[in-house]
């Protein structure tokens, strides 16, 4: 589905992404892990058009999408969430969701003046959809709250919720789990699986929670220092010496995992 070919992204002299190449299969849920500062987010930003790569190519279904602006990629079915939540802070939570779908009739000025009736109908449908999403994320009671007033975790949920407002082809999730309650996170994992199975969405997931990765992802790609370090099933990755050294460590958490 998406082929990343030898992408480099340099900030000044610093090579945040340094020749990363990877392939994301259609219909897969690919996990992307790696130490802090490995270049995962930067790679997302390059693929999703927020940063121009220093060099390299990204293709989607065979089509070259390198350097296309995000709004065009959105219309091609590529969605992303942000690691540091990017809510529309002065708008209500519901509005945050309702603004997402593209090609709304009322988004053209002339239509906004002339096609009042049609817009009202569309809005009704959107509102229903948004409320469903909110229900799912267990934040229905916040529908009319300003998004800027949400708690840290709630903002992350809203990030995720936005991707559920439209039919996407491929969704990039950048640490949706950080700061989200684990019980809810597992529910989210279920939803991701469902979207993947039922609607055929492709997912790419950055996450530091191995439970979450383990539940969802195959394959898992580990990055370090801007390059792809290893790729395989989670078990293969976990067994990789380099990965253990750079990323997983042998601490308490993994000991526990090994036990459990």
């Amino acid at each position: 589905m998406i082929v990343v070919d030898d992408i480099h992204k340099h900030f000044g002299g610093f090579r945040a992404v340094d020749g990363a190449s990877l392939t994301i299969r259609e219909g897969s849920i690919t996990g992307l892990i790696g130490p802090n500062g490995a270049g995962k987010t930067t790679l997302f930003n390059v693929i999703a058009g927020h940063l121009k790569p220093t060099s390299g190519r990204v293709t989607m279904g065979g089509e070259d999408i390198t350097g296309l602006p995000p709004h065009e990629l959105f219309h091609k079915g590529l969605l992303r969430t942000f690691q540091i939540a990017h809510e529309f802070h002065s708008m209500t939570v519901r509005e945050n969701l309702m603004m997402v779908p593209g090609d709304q009739t009322g988004e053209t000025l002339v239509n906004a003046w002339l096609k009042r009736r049609q817009i009202a109908r569309e809005e009704e449908a959107l509102r229903r959809k948004a409320d469903e999403v909110l229900e799912f994320l267990t934040i229905s009671h916040l529908a009319d709250e300003k998004a800027g007033n949400l708690s840290g975790g709630q903002k992350k949920l809203l990030e995720l919720g936005r991707t559920m407002m439209v039919d996407a082809k491929i969704v990039f999730l950048d640490e949706v789990g950080a700061g989200v309650n684990r019980t809810l996170l597992m529910t989210i994992a279920d939803a991701i699986l469902r979207l993947n199975k039922e609607r055929g969405y492709t997912f790419v997931v950055i996450e530091h929670d191995m439970d979450f990765i383990g539940k969802l992802c195959d394959p898992v790609i580990c990055m370090a220092e801007g390059k792809v370090l290893a790729e395989g099933t989670l078990d293969e990755i976990k067994a990789n010496e380099q990965v253990i050294e750079a990323y997983l460590g042998t601490g308490l958490k993994n000991k526990e995992m090994a036990n459990g």
């Binding site: 602006p69 000025l109 239509n111 906004a112 009042r116």
Partner: protein, 425 residues
């Protein structure tokens, strides 16, 4: 909440009525008319800032372009000048346009050494332009310089110039937007400010266009003038005091014209704001990166809004020049035509159309009325002082009370409603 808004509008109305009763209705209407125009300008700025977060500090330039439109549309053409240099000027302008387009095209083509090519094209273009332009300009400016010396206008009815003013401003805004909208916050601000100064420099110095600093006076009026009414026997006979009747009548006429424009604009803007379009625009203001990721073309939206807002300012500028009956480039000062409008928007409440309108009316009222208030204040303060140099000094300083009082009032209003009188939602 709604009650409070209505109350505030009632307050402004009451201030005007009070002016009418205590001072004169002519004055009240005069303030109302300029207040309506100010409200329209504030609407334009509010569209850009309040809704889209675009920091336009070049309002003055667009207002001035509106004024220019009046001169170019409504003034009679100067036949001799056209014959003397019309062709030359226009062929020069076309040469310039071609050269610039060519340069842009070459730049876009990413040819090797494009920098030199572009420079060469521009240089040749410039020389050619000056060759064609200079003699034509001199010829035009030589035609009856004391009174004309310019090409004149199209001689159309003056009301046509209002939409033309909007279009002219929109055209300029398009150009600016294409180049400068990538800038953020205060950087965009100073860029627009600079562009406004450039527009003004052109208007002041290109005499062939609209006489430059020599001013255009005697702009035709869309309504019968007070003098015409007074000279009209039927009118004069109908009223006991034809002077007052005619001056008030004309002002009422303008008030109606302006109010129609203002209301139409408010309706359109409210409709837009309450629609998905408005939601999208607010989302862009809140967080451009996220909006972009959600499929919204931020650049296009910004351009659209920048053009619309500027066009509204241009329209208001044309209306104002019509009301003044003259085009005086020297009048356009950033303090009055940019920053005062900003004060209106912020004091009224940015992000809220009604706030902007209220701010426009209220601040204009104060701008005019703080002068007598300030003088009165000084009088009251000094009444207890003994006669002498100090008192004389204070009395002489009464004029400065105008800005002083204005500042004080602004600070007070903002103190009690830091987010504006009618805040967003």
């Amino acid at each position: 909440m709604k009650m409070r808004d209505a109350g505030l509008f009632a307050l402004v109305a009451a201030l005007l009525v009070l002016t009418g009763m205590m001072q004169s209705w002519n004055l009240a209407l005069q303030i109302l008319n300029m207040g309506l125009i100010s409200a329209i300008m504030a609407l334009g700025v509010n569209l850009q800032w309040g809704f889209a977060g675009l920091f336009n500090v070049g309002v003055m330039g667009f207002v001035a372009l509106g004024g220019l439109a009046v001169a170019l549309t409504a003034m009679p053409p100067v036949g001799d000048a056209w014959r003397a240099g019309g062709l030359g000027v226009f062929s020069a302008l076309i040469v310039a346009a071609v050269a610039i387009t060519l340069a842009v095209v070459i730049w876009r083509k990413r040819l090797p050494a494009r920098g030199w090519l572009v420079a060469a094209v521009l240089l040749v273009g410039f020389i050619l332009y000056r060759e064609l332009f200079d003699p034509a300009r001199d010829a035009i400016e030589a035609v009856n310089p004391a009174l004309q010396g310019n090409l004149g206008g199209l001689g159309l009815p003056v009301l046509f110039s209002w939409p033309v003013g909007g279009l002219l401003a929109a055209g300029a805004a398009w150009l600016i937007g294409k180049t400068a909208l990538g800038l953020r916050s205060d950087y965009l601000a100073i860029a627009t400010l600079g562009i406004a100064e450039i527009i003004l420099a052109v208007m002041k110095n290109e005499d062939w266009l609209a006489r430059g600093v020599k001013n255009v006076i005697g702009v035709p009026s869309p309504l019968p003038t007070a003098v015409e009414l007074q000279e009209n026997a039927g009118f004069a006979a109908r009223f006991a005091d034809p002077i007052t009747a005619s001056t008030i009548g004309v002002k009422l006429g303008y008030a109606v014209l302006f109010a129609v424009v203002l209301i139409a604009l408010i309706v359109l803007m409210q409709l837009a704001l309450k629609s998905p379009w408005g939601r999208m625009v607010r989302a862009i203001r809140d967080n451009e990166t996220a909006a972009e990721a959600m499929g919204k073309d931020v650049t296009r939206r910004h351009l659209q809004i920048f053009i619309l807002g500027s066009a509204i300012c241009g329209l208001a500028g044309a209306m104002m020049t019509t009301l003044d009956g003259q085009l005086v480039p020297g009048t356009y000062q950033p303090l009055r035509f940019t920053f005062l409008i900003w004060v209106m928007v912020i004091v009224g409440g940015s992000g809220n159309n009604f706030g902007a309108v209220l701010g426009g009316m209220l601040i204009w009222f104060l701008w005019v009325q703080v002068e007598p208030v300030g003088a009165w204040l000084i009088g009251a303060l000094t009444s207890g002082l003994p006669e002498g140099a100090f008192k004389d000094h204070l009395m002489d300083s009464a004029a400065y009370m105008r800005l002083f009082t204005m500042g004080l009032v602004m600070l007070l209003v903002l103190r009690f409603s830091p987010r504006g009188l009618i805040p967003e939602r």
